[in-house]
């Protein structure tokens, strides 16, 4: 189980590569993928406010003429600031209360019944025996909740104000001392409260649904176990001697392998990511086994990612491995020989990791999901073998820990023992770069990574020449907590592929319940953002149009990056007009169009369109960020707590300006205009 897009740190998320982005902005270049939340927000809101000011100015100009526009425009802005700063909470609450009453009286509780029905029916169709049952169930509850809550708030927010206008009930409200700001804020608040209550109910129902559906036990009887005879040389009274071996009874589509030891302890095999605790008791000379509820189906992994580099067949450092022709360039591949994938971890501390864990048994827990590419079929039954070594980046000391068989699409759990026996070697990392000679020529030079690995090489060679027992943290982790894990392919002419997120160390797990709460918090934030957009559109559009516009924003929010790409004319085949011309003239996307009037015309039209798309793209909130969040929860990764703050900041950063714009529009709208 991997997260392709890992969750950035709070600081990275906030600032990103903003210096570069500012320079790119100044020189009208394509802004890099990570301009940081602050800069993205400034660009979005700056665009939005600019657009609002222009629209407001044009409205005033239409009403008062170009010469008389400045006084009313200035007055409107002054009044706006006054009204925004004098919001009465009592009146706002009255409006919010009305929205809540309206929702209840319009039988919104039907959604509760609907959700319960969906859960009941899901119980029949979802496969509890699936390999990824937890992901399946979590995806289902999170999606169904998201869709229902978003549809609910979409309707409420888009239709609430337009219905007031249509029924003219707004007349009796705005003729009371209610400011437009209170009207807008009250609506948002009321709808948000209704949505929140529904979401809360759905979250609680979902949690109980998922945990109760996934929770299961097995039966284990004496007849399921086969006695193991005492082997020669083994002491029969050894408490750790294996006495029985067997399998539990079938439940939820699977059985667990069971090892029973002489002292009565039972080892249970991991199936579909979970295991069970089994206890035994003697009843009337018979042993009764009690298989307890599952453990580990729902997880909140805390991954520790490293930086990934590759080692080329020549033994030199490179950024990428071999491209095996896969269009999806997420993974790079390595073959046998000197090639390696090097994960470099920093800031490691032994206390971060669970010291004993049912799945990992006293070692540094590593999870990996590797790709496999076969250049020949070979023995298809046999999996490709790979090796895992650890290396101290300071001393260059390296030792192979294990070899293992890889399986595509399957997450492998291994533990690097805290102490292990191995043969040491000193491996120096080298890279190649070009530099200019004094006479101006470019030449290739080699360098070492890092430099201090070579300094003590001779000493290390002498020290580490014999097989011995290593202490993982003492021998391979530097003072700064740095360590490297090397993956190498053992089978010749076969390849294994990996990306940065494919291998991670697993720190002590977070709380599953808390992670669940964090997952639904993301949905909540999305709902609030949607409400703000819905109310904004409803201040000047009719209900259905406001709803479609809000849906449009949501869709655009998920493809913000693509919109900006269109805005920067980076899409192959040009903009919509050029693409149309290409379709009509049957030219493919990579051929340059011949110079002609029609080409100039369509490209000019595309330029105007792209400018519009760029502006629009900047104004749209980056909603795709929320999907990272969902992905993490359903795949059983713990969401860092600071990510709650990220989303709160992002939601407020958009909702507040949206509220201001909505207020400005409503306060300048003639309520009684038919």
């Amino acid at each position: 189980m991997i997260l392709e897009k890992e969750i950035p740190s709070f600081y990275d998320w906030l600032t990103g590569d903003w210096q570069r982005a500012v320079l790119e902005l100044i020189f009208f270049r394509r802004i890099n993928d990570n301009p940081g939340a602050i800069l993205s927000w400034l660009l979005s809101i700056g665009t939005l406010l600019l657009a609002a000011l222009i629209v407001g100015f044009v409205f005033c100009a239409v009403r008062y003429g170009l010469t008389g526009v400045f006084v009313p425009f200035g007055r409107a802005i002054r009044r706006g600031v006054e009204n925004l700063t004098n919001v009465s909470f009592a009146r706002t609450w009255a409006i919010a209360r009305l929205a809540i009453q309206e929702s209840i009286r319009r039988r919104i509780m039907i959604l509760v019944v609907l959700f319960m029905l969906i859960l009941l029916m899901a119980g029949w169709f979802l496969d509890r025996g699936s390999e990824n049952a937890a992901e399946l169930y979590m995806t289902f509850v999170m999606w169904s909740t998201t869709i229902l809550v978003l549809i609910l708030t979409l309707f409420l927010s888009s239709f609430s104000l337009p219905t007031d206008f249509k029924n003219k009930t707004i007349y009796s409200v705005v003729t009371k001392p209610v400011r437009s700001s209170e009207l807008v804020f009250g609506r948002i608040l009321g709808i948000a409260i209704v949505g929140t209550a529904m979401l809360l109910f759905m979250a609680i129902a979902s949690y109980f649904f998922v945990t109760s559906e996934l929770n299961h036990s097995h039966l284990l009887f004496e007849r399921d176990l086969t006695p193991i005879s005492v082997e020669a040389g083994e002491q029969s009274d050894n408490a750790k001697r294996l006495v029985f071996k067997g399998e539990t009874q079938l439940n939820s589509g699977h059985r667990h392998l069971v090892d029973v030891f002489a002292d009565g302890t039972v080892n249970v095999g991991v199936v579909n990511g979970h295991t069970h605790r089994i206890t035994s008791e003697k009843v009337n000379e018979q042993t009764r086994y009690v298989v307890h509820n599952e453990q580990g189906t729902l997880q909140a992994r805390v991954p520790v990612y490293g930086k990934l580099d590759f080692r080329s067949p020549e033994g030199l450092d490179t950024d990428k491995g071999i491209n095996v022709g896969d269009e999806w360039d997420y993974r790079s591949f390595i073959g046998a020989g000197d090639e390696a994938a090097i994960y470099r971890f920093t800031g490691l501390q032994q206390s971060t990791f669970p010291q004993t864990d049912g799945n990992f048994k006293n070692g540094l827990p590593v999870e990996m999901t590797l790709g496999v590419f076969r250049t020949h079929k070979g023995n298809i039954e046999r999996r490709i073998t790979a090796s895992l070594s650890v290396r101290n980046p300071k001393t260059g000391l390296q030792a192979e820990v294990m070899t293992f068989s890889t399986e595509e699409f399957v997450t492998k759990y291994v533990a690097i023992p805290w102490t292990f026996d191995g043969t040491p070697q000193v491996v120096q990392r080298r890279g190649r770069t070009t530099q200019k000679t004094p006479d101006g020529r470019e030449e290739s030079v080699f360098y070492s990574v890092p430099d201090d690995a070579t300094a003590s090489q001779e000493r290390n060679d002498a020290q580490f020449s014999r097989r011995r027992t290593f202490d993982l943290f003492k021998d391979f982790v530097t003072d700064k907590g740095e360590m490297e894990i090397w993956l190498q392919c053992v089978d010749r002419q076969q390849y294994i592929g990996m990306a940065r997120s494919d291998l991670y160390l697993r720190a002590a797990d977070g709380s599953v319940g808390w992670n669940f709460v964090k997952g639904f918090y993301g949905i909540w934030m999305r709902m609030l953002m949607l409400t703000a957009f819905g109310v904004l559109f409803s201040t000047f559009l009719s209900g259905p149009v406001a709803m479609i516009s809000t849906v449009g924003v949501m869709v655009a929010g998920f493809s913000k990056a693509f919109m900006i790409e269109i805005g920067l004319n980076k899409v192959l085949g040009g903009g919509p007009f050029e693409s149309l011309l290409r379709i009509m003239t049957q030219q493919n996307m990579v051929v340059d169009l011949p110079k002609s009037f029609s080409t100039t015309f369509v490209q000019s039209a595309d330029n105007v369109y792209s400018m519009f798309m760029r502006l629009l793209g900047q104004a749209i909130p980056p909603l795709s960020d929320y999907s990272v969040y969902d992905g993490a929860v359903v795949k059983g990764f713990s969401i860092p707590s600071y990510w709650l703050m990220n989303h709160t900041i992002m939601t407020l950063a958009y909702a507040v300006p949206l509220f201001i714009v909505a207020y400005l529009i409503l306060s300048n709208r003639e309520v009684a205009k038919s």
Binding site: E102, Y171, S172, V178
Partner: protein
């Protein structure tokens, strides 16, 4: 604006200067000129009636006063403040043409909602709600949702919400429409009661008899122009005619009516100019306006 005020209410409660409203379509083209250069002053404590046929600009005027519409040109001051100032609404009560209320609320909830919009405290709100529900006679229907109300009941709860804040200026758009004769009588009594309490009332109505009964002054609008403005009794007075009203008059005396009234020792009850009905005046002004568009009709005189 006049600076003379009683309490916080200015002497001139409503003032419009050259008030014009033009409705335009999406492209800014003129659709209707709903109001043309209206100059109006309504004083504190007056009951002012706005009359006019459909589409004459009465409702537009009220909506402009309330800030529901923005003027195309001209100024409006209500209670000394521009009409677009939300602060003026603290002392205004408005009964719309139809009861535009939330039909999913019951009477108590409706008044509670509007009371909250005035930042009224809980106890005050509850007391006011009880008082108003009793005043409009909806005690038995206080817990019923408004969707179940008849038109007359809706008007009554509409009136109650308009009075929730004990307003100084009450704007009533067609206040008696949809009311039965008793309801109409009650409404008129209420208007007179408001007047007695020093409140200013502006009402528009098609029911001329109602206006005649309660209004101190009226303005007659036709096609957006103010055709007539003045005190009701002045407007209805026919100045070039004399009316003598007598009682206990014998048949003989009838033949010599003017010469012998005194000789016959009959009691002279009334001698003066006769008055027309408001309906007659209204219809005459409309006829006159259609015959000579743009001309202001002189009040009370037959032309």
């Amino acid at each position: 604006m006049s600076e003379l005020t009683a309490g916080n209410v200015p002497e001139i409660v409503v003032e419009t200067r050259n008030l014009t409203k033009i409705y335009r379509d999406f492209w800014g083209r003129q659709k209707v000129r709903a109001l043309k250069a209206l100059d109006l002053e309504i004083r504190r404590g007056e009951v002012f009636g706005l009359l006019g046929p459909n589409g004459s600009g009465k409702t537009t005027t009220i909506k402009l006063l309330l800030g529901l519409l923005f003027p195309t040109s001209g100024d409006i001051f209500v209670l000394g403040k521009p009409a677009t100032d939300v602060g003026k609404n603290e002392k205004i009560g408005y009964l719309p043409e139809e009861s535009y209320l939330y039909r999913f609320l019951n009477a108590e909830e409706t008044l509670d909602f509007y009371g909250r919009l005035f930042n009224m405290s809980g106890p005050v709100r509850r007391q006011r709600i009880a008082q108003l529900i009793s005043m409009v006679g909806l005690e038995s229907a206080r817990k019923r949702q408004l969707r179940e109300y008849s038109k007359g009941m809706s008007r009554r709860i509409g009136l109650a919400q308009a009075l929730i804040n004990d307003p100084d200026l009450v704007l009533l758009d067609e206040p008696t429409s949809g009311l039965d004769p008793i309801g109409t009588r009650n409404m008129k009594d209420l208007i007179l009661d408001l007047k007695k309490r020093g409140k200013t009332v502006i009402m528009s109505s098609h029911l001329l008899a109602d206006v005649q009964d309660v209004c101190d002054r009226i303005g007659i609008l036709y096609q957006g122009e103010l055709k007539e403005l003045g005190r009701v009794e002045d407007l209805l007075k026919v100045s070039n005619e004399t009316e003598i009203r007598a009682s206990n008059l014998s048949e003989t005396a009838k033949n010599k009516i003017i010469d012998i009234i005194k000789e016959d020792n009959a009691e002279l009850v009334f001698s003066g100019h006769p008055t027309t009905t408001l309906e007659e005046l209204f219809l005459r002004i409309i006829e006159e306006s259609e015959a000579r568009p743009g001309r202001r009709v002189r009040g009370g005189n037959k032309i």
